[in-house]
Point group: C2
Chain length 355, copies 2
């Protein structure tokens, strides 16, 4: 008998090896990345599902470091609503993101970009894929490919890949050094996160989940939400931190885990938010660089990453604890984290894209 | 005894009067809107909660009609992560949106824009508000102001306001005529939607909700999700249509109402999606201009608006049925739609914005 979730667990525990491979691989392409980005006025990161969450982390990160406008867009909108995204006369680089490299609407988004004369730089984990073959340039993260249906190490690696691109394009040597430190720091975090993620995952009094983050952390929050939806099949939300106070907070009670992905820039507002959620009896998981005594006192669960890294570098360090949490809750509920119900390894849409 | 939800019901039923007032009011400001938009290279629509959902409808609509880049951004990101949104040397107009005009982070976003030398055009329903006083120009939709905590007519009116701005800036007379036809068409839709919304709302076998839409309909889907969260306090999601197939669909079963907000551009893919959801036993509510026989056969509930209007004009016609649905389910559950638990008329954050 094969143990349920064997692949997912292996991929969560060992993901820093994929990160190392990713850093090496992107660094080797530095020359072509620099020339590809010359004269570019806007970058559009596009994908579906987890890959769209990666785009949500990368767009603010890329614009922050390079000063080049960047946005995250669902692949289908590039195909069906291109005039809401692309403007004429503004040289744009499209970055299609897809683990399989064969997701129908992301492949179509790539074709649509080429038809408009735009260059593309795809991020995928599959060398034999359509995206790898058709894009102007592609970064194929084979060390990050996965056997499980659910994405874990591929997500963190594709984020790291995009961060490396931002560092290379902005010629930011300090950032490259910081990114290179992530695998070693990540290994420690993963070891610390394993037992805690399991403890939270096995707390059956929690039956609904909310993840909140600002700036680049909104994409991480969306990815956490998706892990719960895929592996645990329980109600799960993601919101910008302060937006959660405008309506969605009406759902908070002692059965909801509210996970706060803390930044540096919005730290004060996030601490006020944490107090507010505790007053509503929410169960709090706080992920941060380092907590103050107030947060230590309030948080039910706490991960401090102690990375010494800036907020735009840290996002992938927050994911492992939620990957573990989802994994163990999934097992507890008798599901198979490797192969959740209703899902396939990638989504192909036969004849649904009008071509 | 005051009837629960009296104000919300009045505001849903009579919202086309607010639409008429909105059209008149924006048309009167045509001259100053044209001069305000001269030389602008990007428009940033920003808000929190429902107002952010309005921004999500308006950004693609504005870019589509004007050819000027537009994006929707949470107010807090304008304050805490401005370098992920604004670029130097690109003349930008910021459009802060807030019913009360006093939402803390949206007021701060407005200040932050002014500090960067940008012009602002606020959309609010309150003449005495900070936003109305401080913005470069403001559109104060007093006929759309509300007594209920939950936003209904203010949302549809603020969307219509932004559509009018797009029409004026792009000097699109045909679009203005189309927008002017919305109150009369809307009145018919509201009458048709009332009984159906009540029927769905009182179907207690439905205990979770998903709303999906592409392009400008994603913002509408987000607003539908928020109405459920605020008034009904049950699990509720929103996604781009095809993204829903990447993970979240694992939650679909006969207890989930899947509401599809149909566009024209992605119609074929949306019909394929509808079939897919039915195969998973989801309960389907389809909102569209006109259904084909296949959709008529599959949909459990159907609203055809028969407006003769393009997809970027129709979004507010899809909202009333979900407003009614939320209202009646809220009543059935013994809640007060006028004043949901944990919520206030607007959100003020004391000292949490670091100033």
């Amino acid at each position: 008998m094969i143990k349920r979730g064997k692949n997912a667990l292996f991929e969560i525990v060992n993901q820093t090896k994929a990160w190392e491979g990713t850093i090496r691989l992107v660094a080797e392409k530095a020359g072509s990345l620099k020339s590809l980005s010359e004269g570019i006025e806007e970058v559009v990161f596009t994908g579906c599902g987890s890959a769209l969450n990666v785009a949500w982390v990368l767009a603010p990160t890329f614009q922050y470091y390079t000063g080049i406008k960047a946005r995250a867009v669902p692949s289908a909108d590039c195909v069906f609503f291109p005039d809401t995204i692309f403007t004429t006369g503004s040289p744009t680089l499209v970055v299609p993101i897809s683990r399989s490299g064969d997701t129908t609407e992301t492949v179509e988004a790539c074709k649509s970009a080429h038809a408009r004369g735009m260059k593309t730089l795809s991020i995928t984990c599959n060398l034999e894929s359509q995206l790898a073959r058709m894009s102007t340039e592609s970064l194929v993260l084979e060390p990050a490919s996965e056997k499980a249906v659910v994405t874990t190490q591929s997500v963190t690696s594709m984020v790291l890949c995009g961060q490396m691109i931002a560092a290379i394009v902005s010629k930011n040597g300090e950032l490259i050094d910081q990114l290179k430190s992530l695998p070693a720091i990540g290994q420690t975090i993963i070891e610390k996160s394993h037992a805690l993620g399991r403890e939270i995952g096995e707390n059956e009094s929690i039956v609904k989940f909310a993840f909140v983050g600002n700036g680049p952390y909104l994409g991480v929050a969306k990815e956490c939400q998706l892990k719960i939806k895929e592996m645990v099949v329980l109600p799960s939300d993601s919101y910008p931190v302060l937006d959660f106070r405008h309506g969605p907070k009406s759902n908070v009670d002692e059965q909801m885990l509210v996970t706060v992905l803390m930044s540096d820039s919005a730290r004060e507002a996030e601490i006020a938010f944490i107090k507010d959620m505790k007053a509503l009896n929410g169960v709090l998981l706080v992920l941060c660089e380092k907590a103050n005594s107030e947060v230590v006192g309030i948080a039910d669960y706490l991960v401090e990453v102690h990375s010494g890294l800036p907020e735009f570098v840290r996002p992938i360090l927050y994911l492992p604890v939620v990957q573990f949490l989802s994994y163990y809750r999934s097992l507890l509920q008798g599901q198979d984290p490797d192969s959740p119900r209703n899902l396939t390894y990638y989504v192909a849409l036969e004849g649904a894209m009008g071509n």
